[in-house]
């Protein structure tokens, strides 16, 4: 807007007045400059840098011997990476589905004029305030194959109860799902509850008059109108899943063996502790690709929606 003033000034030179370019006109740009520089360098610059590294044979230190797509080839030949990717598929898929299901159900339940709704909501949501490291530590103890839930159930009389997923390479990924769902499902609940509260109450009355029962009203009218919330929740949850790093570090440390690794852990291990910078960079780029594949359609539809209004 201030720019308009400057433009008007420069357009008015025939009146003998030079373009007005005082410090005040530059202030907004000056204020934004640090952030802009940081964003350009540290987001986009670094992305490109990592992309460049992914095409080199860098090991302990970055080198700039370009080797084409060798690192990507190595990556997709690497069994550990493939395990990490398939873990991400299983973990992400289950995590998202269960969180959405629980979140929607709890939000609908809580939306029935419940007494002490505030307190219950607070309880559902508190795990979201905690670090994934703490969550991992707690669940590591709860899921402990000998002393955890298994022992409690045996003491309760279920002599044959076995629960050793944490030490079972085939099942350990489900431990990640349990802990992550515990942490994030309350958040999904909060999102949907906010959405439900925003639904036009006259619309619900209209459905009632049209003869729709409570289940039909939710299934046909209310939930479909929350499509944007579903979409947001989906994007956020997949984003959490793809970035998941700390939960694995604390709960399983990738083990047993590397059976519970996720891509983020693979990247960190290769780039920082196993001196495979090139390979680590390539894995980071694949992760970025995954995020963009989810994000771009989302942002596109959001922006299109905004323009529509």
């Amino acid at each position: 807007m201030n720019n308009n003033a400057a433009k008007a000034g420069s357009g008015a030179t025939q009146a003998g007045r030079p373009a007005r370019l005082s410090l005040a006109d530059w202030m907004p740009k000056i204020v934004m400059a640090p952030t802009a520089v940081a964003a350009i360098v540290c987001i986009y610059g670094y992305m490109i840098w990592t992309a460049v590294l992914s095409f080199t044979n860098s090991r302990m230190l970055p080198s700039y011997n370009f080797v084409g797509f060798d690192q990507y080839e190595r990556l997709f030949m690497n069994d550990r990476w493939l395990v990490a990717l398939s873990n991400l598929g299983v973990f992400g898929g289950l995590f998202i589905l269960i969180c959405l299901f629980l979140g929607v159900m709890l939000a609908i339940f809580l939306d029935q004029k419940i007494r002490a709704e505030g307190a219950i909501r607070t309880i559902y949501l508190y795990p979201m305030a905690i670090s994934f490291i703490v969550t991992g530590t707690a669940w590591k103890w709860l899921l402990n194959p000998t002393n955890g839930i298994e022992k409690m159930m045996i003491e309760l009389g279920f002599e044959d109860f076995r629960f050793n997923w944490l030490s079972d390479p085939d099942m350990v990924v489900y431990c990640l799902v349990i802990a992550a769902v515990w942490q994030a499902s309350g958040f999904v609940m909060a999102l949907f509850l906010a959405g439900l509260r925003g639904v036009d109450s006259e619309m619900i009355k209209a459905a009632q008059l049209d003869g729709a029962g409570i289940i039909t009203t939710y299934r046909r009218i209310i939930l479909p109108s929350l499509k944007p919330v579903f979409f947001s929740a989906l994007v956020i949850l997949s984003h959490i899943a793809i970035k998941s790093f700390d939960l694995v570090a604390a709960l399983t440390n990738g083990g047993p063996g590397y059976s519970s690794d996720l891509p983020a852990n693979f990247m960190y291990a290769h780039a920082f502790t196993r001196s495979q910078i090139g390979l680590g960079a390539a894995s980071a780029m694949v992760m970025l690709g995954c995020v963009l594949a989810i994000l771009v359609p989302y942002l596109y539809s959001e922006l299109r929606g905004e323009r529509h209004e």
């Binding site: 036009d200 006259e202 619309m203 009355k205 209209a206 459905a207 009632q208 008059l209 049209d210 003869g211 729709a212 039909t216 046909r220 009218i221 479909p224 109108s225 499509k227 529509h308």
Partner: protein, 369 residues
């Protein structure tokens, strides 16, 4: 189509009484308007008729059925909401047919009904669109279409025009009136706009503080308001209330006003003023009853010409409103624009009190009924 009887309906939230014993009954096919300022209980009453809120006491009958405790869907009522309340995820056609679907009407019949309604409201070209792609007026039509599709016993309209701009509102008003004339359905319509009430209604219930102040035809309400509130609420500009002293003159009672000079005007029912002889009452006189002197009315029974001091003039095209002060009260007069009136001048005006009414100053109730 059915009649509606509201029998001593009360509604309480804890200690506060929102509806204080409402009694209204209308015939099948009548257009009833509930009008009143916000918070008067008109929307609560509407929701109670729809079954969206329970009543604390009293009965509601649709036709001969007591529906006081029936669920909304069993009342066979359709409603048009202020926000239109269209289902955003459904197309216009789906919106219209949803209520039929819920009543398990077969697909072919639903499609035929959608087509019929669409033709009636001229929204055929919109059927495949979503509500977000419609303009305000189009949404309004779809909301009405949704109500029409089920051919219910009664229609409820909850301030359906208040979200439209002025021009569209007038258009839709006419359209609703035409629709009612064509279908002959029973309609209950809530509004706070008294012009809507006057133009649409067969009968108007003017509400205030959870009570019906007056129930009557628009003309009854306009000409014969039962109290100051109704008189002041209906009509625009509002009825003038002029403090006037009851004087005895030639063996009958008349009213003395303080215009430019003290003026005595006759009153159609002088005997009703007897108890107030020598006291002040409020004279209610519509603006159109104070005009420029009209030769053909000269010498008529309840016509008096007197000078007033003009404060402000407001030309409105068809008329010019002249603002003056009579007995300390602000008074609107409606003049022919050709009559030369200027601010701060004194001009002659003709007072026609044949339709004047009188109110008790303290209670606000009509004296001359």
């Amino acid at each position: 189509m059915a009649s509606l009887t509201i029998d001593n309906v009360k509604k309480r939230y804890g200690q506060t009484e929102i509806l204080k014993g409402i009694n209204i009954s209308i015939e099948a096919g009548e257009f009833l308007i509930l009008v009143g300022p916000s918070g008067c209980g008109k929307s609560t009453l509407m929701n109670s008729i729809a079954g969206l809120e329970d009543v604390s006491e009293g009965r509601i009958l649709i036709g001969d059925n007591d529906v006081t405790y029936a669920s909304p869907k069993d009342r066979d009522i359709a409603m048009v909401f202020q926000s239109y309340a269209l289902y955003p995820n459904m197309t216009v056609a789906e919106n219209i047919s949803f209520g039929l679907e819920m009543r398990k009407v077969p697909k072919e019949e639903r499609d035929a009904e959608v087509q019929r309604v669409a033709d009636m409201l001229q929204i055929g070209h919109l059927l495949k669109r979503k509500p977000a792609q419609l303009s305000g007026g189009q949404r309004q039509r779809v909301a009405m279409g949704r109500a029409l599709a089920r051919r219910p016993k009664m229609y409820l309209f909850d301030e359906p025009l208040s979200n439209l701009d002025a021009k569209l509102r007038v258009e839709m008003r006419t359209e609703i009136k035409k629709l009612h004339q064509k279908l002959g359905t029973t309609i209950v319509y809530v509004t706070h706009d008294q012009i809507e009430a006057m133009t649409l209604a067969d009968r108007i219930a003017v509400m205030k503080d959870g009570e019906v102040q007056q129930l009557g035809t628009p003309q009854e309400i306009y000409d014969n308001p039962t109290n100051l509130f109704v008189a002041g609420f209906m009509g625009s500009p509002a009825m003038n209330f002029v403090p006037a002293k009851v004087v005895e003159q030639n063996g009958t009672y008349a009213l003395e006003l303080q215009a430019s000079k003290p003026t005595v005007v006759p009153f159609p029912k002088p005997d009703s003023l007897k108890a107030y002889a020598g006291k002040e009452i409020l004279l209610g006189l519509r603006p159109e009853m104070i005009t420029e002197p009209q030769p053909h009315k000269e010498g008529a029974e309840f016509v008096v010409t007197a000078d007033i001091d003009v404060e402000v003039t407001e030309p409105m095209g068809a008329d010019t409103m002249v603002l003056t002060r009579i007995s300390e009260a602000e008074v609107n007069c409606r003049c022919n624009p050709a009559y030369p009136v200027k601010a701060n001048e004194t001009v002659a005006m003709m007072f026609d009190t044949s339709k004047a009414v009188a109110f008790d100053k303290d209670s606000g109730q009509r004296i001359d009924n």
